[in-house]
Amino acid sequence: MTMLNVGRPTRPSEVAPAQEGPPPGRGLLQDEPLIFEVGGWGKTGVDFETAADEPLDAGDLAGLTRAAAPDLPGLSEPETLRHYVRLSQRNHAIDLALYPLGSCTMKHNPRLDEKLARLPGFLDLHPLQPQSTVQGALAVMDALAHWLKTLTGLPAVALSPKAGAQGELCGLLAIRAALEARGDGRRTVLVPTSAHGTNPATAAQAGYAVREIGQTADGHVDLADLAAQLGPDVAAVMVTNPNTCGLFERDVIEIARLAHEAGAFFYCDGANFNAIVGRVRPVDLGVDAMHINLHKTFSTPHGGGGPGSGPVVLSAALAPYAPTPWLVHDGDGLRLEEQAAGEAVASLGRLCAFHGQMGMYVRALAYMMSHGADGLRQVAEDAVLNANYIKARLSGVMSAAYPDGPCMHEALIDDSWLEGTGVSTLDFAKAMIDAGFHPMTMYFPLVVHGAMLIEPTETEPRHEIDRFCDTLLELAAAAKAGDVERFKGAPFHAPVRRLDETLAARRPRLRWTRAEA
């Protein structure tokens, strides 16, 4: 069997007893049952407007209607507010404190962006209204495209991908279409071992076999291995830059050159664009296609897991294959070409209904305009400075995975400094919760043992970063001093203690049912 044992423990098997202190659900933190346990069956919290003579029997649909209303309870408005506000209090949020998840770019979400996305002229627009009635919306898309093209230097952009992973798919399908157009049936995509899981998953979904490229001891793509693996069957090289170790691929231009020399395309995963926005244009690195996570670099809110938005910038060679719809300048106005016809005749087709994540376009554009070209450059600089500052402050106590040279926007720590303490990366992360901080990304990238990947972003003030570093150093001292109890059962002060993921997977319970209630 293939042995994959780099992950994390998943069961609270070595749990210390609960510490003294108020248990969760006390004080002002209220316990909150499921809506199915408090809601009224047959009740509704919405008042409807009906005309007196309006027939609601739907008699013409006899035989097609459901036997009974959906089996779901309703809540009045006060109950609704209570339920969701109480639940919200069980979440960490960027508005509460640093959210140092590496590779996730959890930065401040400006409220201006929220306000603008809710203007009726954007929020209350139907995607299939006559185009003459949505010229302002098309102008937003056009402006966003202009900013993205200028910041990356690439000549075209496909806006519609719904998230980063769909952007990757868009890029690879454009590459596949371009290769097929020249009668080239290459079947392989090369991906570094340190890549995010979406890269190989996307390549497979795009119909490619995936081969891994090795990594050097200092955290970079192994050029010799890349050169050896490139060949007439390689369609694309997919590299994240800055990479998942938080390092800039200093040989990136050579990576692109080798790929191109072998007849392959160079796809760049732009998840970490925040580190270089305004300071480096991907076109100058030889990139043919790159997706940009608007929810990372351009600060559209993560919303507890989405929605994202993943526009893809494309080289001139790939642009003809961009997915529909296309935004076309037409005389004085703008027009959407929604079919693979006209200008878009070679398009790879549609990736989703309609035109992508318009609500995110408005937010991202407002964010870009607020910062401007100068401010975006400052974003990259401050993000990188904050990460290097954290790395410098923690080094010596915790072990930087790549101590030599600067990192980019995230600092990567390995678990060698925990050796012999009896404390694991997971334990350390969970103890951070008790100390008031959200843990960093753990056990990723897979190439670094017990990885802790810290991304502060540029929107953290120095005093918060210092408080974060002070806390980590204090915890590290406790771990080294043998205070294992503090870590093994952590968190003690979160709304819940460690959760049994093994039980959840062995006996999946994915919905509430009366029988199990």
């Binding site: 069956w41 509704t44 919290g45 409807f48 027939p55 609601l56 649909l61 459901r66 036997a67 309703g74 209090q89 069980r90 979440n91 960490h92 509460l96 603008l116 009726p120 002229g121 209350d124 627009l125 139907h126 302002g136 402006a143 900013w147 719904k162 998230a163 899981g197 979406t198 998953a201 995936v210 305004g278 480096v280 993560h302 897991g305 989405g306 929605p307 035109h355 318009m358 995110m360 607020s370 401007g372 401010g375 401050d382 400075l385 904050n386 290097n388 790395k391 600067p406 919760i433 959200h438 540029e458 929107t459 003030p461 120095r462 819940v496 203690r497 049994d500 959840a504 319970r509 919905r511």
Partner: protein, 448 residues
């Protein structure tokens, strides 16, 4: 720059701690040829007032749906969303939180997802629902891929009533993975035609009810035919409010139900972000795409929730994952769930009945116009009419009179030869006055 807290003094101090002379020292790994000396050629930073003014101007160049008579549907629907919904989704702890990878401090999001999954399961009458997908169309594409994995067969048959954008999306996703899609010719009332197209290599048939022409179909017989041939039935719904009134996919024998959930809790947003609903039978659980939230206990035995069965997913399974999907549509799923919690099953049914009644009223008004022929035999809240003139031109002409009359079918599928077909939708937001205005404007335009 209001979003950047570091002061010049902070930066100087921090550089000193790092041991760098200038910020450029931290970018030494960037090849010299690729270092930009200064800002790119874009405007410099702007005040909140300036940005608001600029984008406000662009917003003002659009005609909001609610600004006058409005009858567009075809996959996106204008409904009233209670004020509480938008207030709650803007709570910092929901809006600015990440995917719940640290369950101890994300129980809010996780419990919402568990409740959301329960709601979707109840609406579709299928036992397994995931924590949402990007939208209905991508959920449809993922369902086709899943059916191919389950049956190890390579073909999907798509009905002529499937929304053309869904068909195209499914084709793009399936084709790249080596799964062939066959779309039957557009048909107002022909979901059952998929039965004839099933063969030994058919992984699934994809039907839609109400379909893109609005036609409501009992697909039970299609389910039987598909199952007899070893294929799965995927039932698509683009208008989630219809679940309040119509027979559910599970009740009719669907193996997988996918839907666009925008109608509940979410605005039109010019096409996105939306929220895809995805539900399936218990047997198919291990092949389902997307995130799943499950109930478990914590170290003290108390109930809690976690993301589970993640070995199906890309971050563990990499190139063998069931899908490359990494995000869901969390905040839109939250909006859906809040609105659904307020409605309850009973409220959703009432809402659905009102929608149907308004559409019947609109149908009656349009049927009385010479030169207008109603095509849809049974509908929920939208229907197709044949006009004496090309529908696209009529829609443009009515837009000039500030009536947004609906969606010309030719915009969705120009090659179908249905240039004279207009798709008309009415919801609870449609008033009697709106319907009168549409009827008057349409009569005048058709007669002209």
């Amino acid at each position: 720059m209001r979003y950047l807290p570091l002061t010049p003094a902070d930066r100087a101090d921090m550089l000193a701690v790092v041991g760098a002379d200038t910020i450029d020292d931290l970018f030494v790994d960037v090849p010299a040829a690729a270092r930009l000396a200064g800002p790119v050629d874009l405007p410099h930073h702007a005040s909140e007032l300036a940005v608001e003014r600029a984008l406000g101007r662009l917003a003002a160049r659009n005609r909001p749906a609610g600004a006058g008579p409005f009858f567009c549907g075809a996959g996106a629907y204008r409904h009233h969303v209670p004020a509480s919904v938008d207030h709650l989704i803007q709570r910092s702890e929901f809006l600015t939180s990440y995917t719940p990878y640290q369950p101890e401090i994300a129980q809010g999001t996780l419990q919402v997802l568990f409740e959301f999954q329960t709601q979707v399961a109840a609406l579709t009458d299928l036992p397994v629902a995931n924590a949402s997908m990007y939208d209905g169309s991508t959920a449809c594409g993922e369902a086709v891929l899943m059916a191919s994995r389950v049956t190890r067969r390579g073909k999907a048959v798509l009905s002529g009533g499937l929304h053309p954008h869904y068909g195209e999306t499914a084709h793009t996703l399936a084709h790249s993975a080596g799964v062939e899609t066959r779309r039957l010719p557009a048909a107002v009332d022909g979901e059952a035609a998929v039965i004839e197209a099933i063969d030994a290599d058919t992984a699934c048939v994809v039907v839609q009810t109400p379909n893109v022409f609005g036609t409501v179909t009992d697909v039970s017989a299609i389910a039987e035919a598909a199952h007899a041939a070893g294929a799965l039935l995927i039932v698509v719904t683009t208008e989630a409010v219809a679940y309040g009134l119509l027979k559910s996919p599970g009740e009719m024998g669907a193996d997988i139900a996918v839907a666009e959930g925008q109608s509940i809790g979410n605005g039109l947003n010019f096409g996105g972000p939306y929220v895809g609903l995805f539900a399936c039978t218990e047997k198919l659980l291990r092949q389902a795409p997307g995130r799943l939230c499950g109930e478990t206990v914590d170290a003290e035995g108390r109930r809690g929730f976690v993301l589970t069965l993640s070995t199906r997913e890309q971050h563990i399974r990499r190139d063998k994952a069931t899908s490359n999907i990494c995000t869901n549509s969390g905040l839109c799923a939250l909006a859906f769930s809040i609105h659904m919690s307020m409605l309850g099953g009973a409220g959703l049914e009432t809402l659905a009945r009102i929608n149907h009644a308004r559409a019947v009223r609109a149908r009656d008004a349009l049927a009385a116009i010479p030169g207008v022929e109603v095509l849809t035999p049974r509908f929920f809240n939208e229907f197709a009419v044949r006009l004496r003139k090309p529908a696209a031109a009529v829609v443009e002409a009515l837009a000039a009179r500030d009536v947004l009359a609906g969606v010309p079918f030719s915009r969705l599928d120009p090659g179908a030869g249905l240039d004279d077909v207009l798709l008309v939708c009415a919801t609870e937001t449609t008033t009697a006055e709106d319907i009168d205005a549409l009827a008057r404007a349409l009569s005048a335009e058709i007669a002209a």
